[in-house]
């Protein structure tokens, strides 16, 4: 835990004329689990799009293992070992469950994750490997989305609202899998609406408010008052 795996410096992001992120400063250490919290529209998904290369930035605004990656295309960023579990799952509807996983693994990066280890993590997926991904329940689809990201054996994985719209029992089983995932030395950034969940699984947390960092803290000792202040901007 010496050098940050990800360093964000002066990151701005725009949708046409609308500025969604303002000079963000953040870092994520090797092996760390970072939580990103914030109200709807705070810019959490935009941050993930910027890191993953789906939005073009200045090269130096995002550094990965010291290398400037802010201006790379999304496929180039993925090749470096950054995977995304996108908001709303976004599986490929014309691919079967197994094909969704295989396409996640197509870059051939070495590591512990393979079709078999993903099936070990989420045994239910093995039973429905041949069915179209859209015929699964929301929770199962989320497992496919997580498995698809793991299949690339990433060093850094970004989770965007993995519990959104899921039943509590499913959310629990997905979060129960999280320690297994990060125990392999992977670093993770977790966007989560459920603040207590986010804080309980993470080492540190940032709160975004209208595109700016409004709070940075270790997760264990952040006060409720500080969070509501950072969340809503009211004292």
């Amino acid at each position: 835990m010496t050098d940050p795996i990800l360093q964000i410096a002066g990151l701005n992001a725009y949708y046409k004329d609308f500025q969604a992120l303002y000079s963000l400063e953040m870092h994520l250490m090797q092996g760390e689990v970072l939580a990103i919290i914030g109200a709807n529209g705070a810019g959490k998904t935009t941050l993930m799009r910027a890191i993953s290369g789906l939005m073009a930035n200045g090269a130096d605004q995002v550094r990965y293992r010291g290398q400037p990656i802010g201006a790379l295309r999304a496929d180039q960023v993925a090749m470096l070992g950054i995977a995304v579990v996108p908001e709303g799952r976004q599986l490929f509807p014309s691919l079967s469950v197994e094909e969704n996983l295989l396409i996640g693994g197509r870059m051939g990066r070495k590591g512990p994750w393979s079709l078999n280890s993903v099936f070990d993590l989420f045994p239910i997926l093995k039973e429905c490997r041949a069915v179209p991904s859209t015929s699964l329940s929301g929770g199962q689809q989320q497992m496919v989305a997580i498995g698809r990201a793991l299949m690339s054996n990433p060093d850094l994985i970004l989770f965007d609202e993995i519990s959104l719209g899921l039943a509590p029992v499913i959310i629990k089983s997905i979060y129960d899998a999280l320690p297994v995932i990060v125990s392999e030395g992977m670093s993770a950034m977790i966007v989560e609406q459920d603040i207590s969940k986010a804080l309980s699984v993470s080492d540190r947390a940032y709160c975004l408010q209208e595109g700016r960092v409004s709070l940075e803290s270790t997760s264990a000792d952040v006060s409720r008052a500080a969070i509501s202040q950072a969340y809503f901007g009211i004292a």
Binding site: S52, G53, L54, R73, A74, D75, Q76, A78, M79, A83, V84, P86, Q90, F92, P93, S94, L95, E99, L102, I103, G104, R106, M107, P132, S133, T134, S135, R148, S152
Partner: protein, 287 residues
């Protein structure tokens, strides 16, 4: 028996139309690009074949060995050099650019080869026929149909059983997320266009053996290709073959009633399908 003959001949002709249509269907399926220059690219392939045949004395079908890779290369360069820049939320730029491309190809061919009709000579293959019952089947139409079936089956297999086919489907489903899987969509689009123009090369050579051609005939081939795709249902390759067959049969039956009605009958069949089943007869089943 005349009617049976018309239907059989129309079916075989449908194989050629399916080959016109397959490339069109493929690029629309992968990148939502409507290629107005498709017919002219078919004609370009026919002229390339003609040039190879004249330069080397090879049989036109053997000229495919040169024309398929050449057209595929042209496709990749065209896609990466020009067409990728036209793709986006707006459907109009690719239409305008491929329309411009169509004009350029036609005029380029006119400059180089003049407006005189040309034909490739396939020797005995053109007239060879065999009897089946009381029908006489031309070897060339049967071969054309067989090639169409093999090409469609090959494309179908590639789409559903190979890694590159999976990549084509993923990019078609969701370009952003596909890129998160490490797929460079510009390259994938280039490969799709290369594949489409490889198929177009086969269509162009078979066209140039079957009938005479000149630089202006591309528009008609584009229409037949479109009609086959729409009749069959977008995004379904076997449907495209069925669409080609329906179009071919309509045309030969029309011609049987009155020789002037051949093309019209095809258009009418197309309009009927469009009116009754706008999604085509066999649309892609997607979740």
């Amino acid at each position: 028996m005349d009617w049976v003959n018309a239907i059989v001949q129309g079916t075989l002709l449908g194989g050629l139309y399916a080959l016109f249509a397959a490339g069109l269907s493929l690029i629309f399926g992968v990148m939502r690009l409507v290629n107005i220059a498709h017919g002219d690219l078919i004609v370009l392939a026919a002229y390339l074949g003609l040039t190879v045949v004249m330069a080397t004395g090879l049989h036109p079908l053997l000229a495919l060995v040169f024309v398929v890779p050449t057209m595929a290369t042209i496709g990749y360069i065209l896609q990466r050099g020009i067409l990728n820049f036209t793709l986006g939320d707006d459907l109009l730029p690719p239409l305008l650019v491929t329309f411009g491309l169509s004009v350029i190809i036609q005029n380029g061919l006119l400059e180089m080869y003049s407006a005189d009709p040309q034909k490739m000579n396939a020797g005995a293959l053109e007239t060879a026929s065999f009897a089946m019952g009381s029908l006489s089947l031309g070897v060339l139409p049967v071969l054309t149909f067989a090639i169409a079936v093999v090409v469609i089956a090959g494309l179908q297999w590639m789409f559903y059983h190979t890694a590159i086919g999976r990549a084509f489907r993923a990019v078609s489903d969701n370009q952003d997320i596909a890129q998160l899987m490490g797929l460079n969509k510009r390259h994938i689009f280039g490969l799709a266009m290369a594949l489409a123009l490889g198929v177009t090369a086969i269509a162009g050579i078979l066209l140039g053996i079957r009938t005479s051609f000149d630089p202006s005939v591309g528009g008609g081939r584009l229409i037949f290709g479109f009609e086959a795709v729409i009749i069959g249902g977008l995004g379904n390759l076997w449907g495209t073959l069925a669409g080609g067959v329906i179009l071919g049969v309509a045309q030969t039956i029309g011609a049987k009633i009155d020789p002037g009605w051949q093309i019209l009958a095809g258009h009418i069949a197309f309009l009927i399908v469009l009116a009754v089943r706008p999604q085509g007869l066999f649309p892609r089943v997607s979740g």
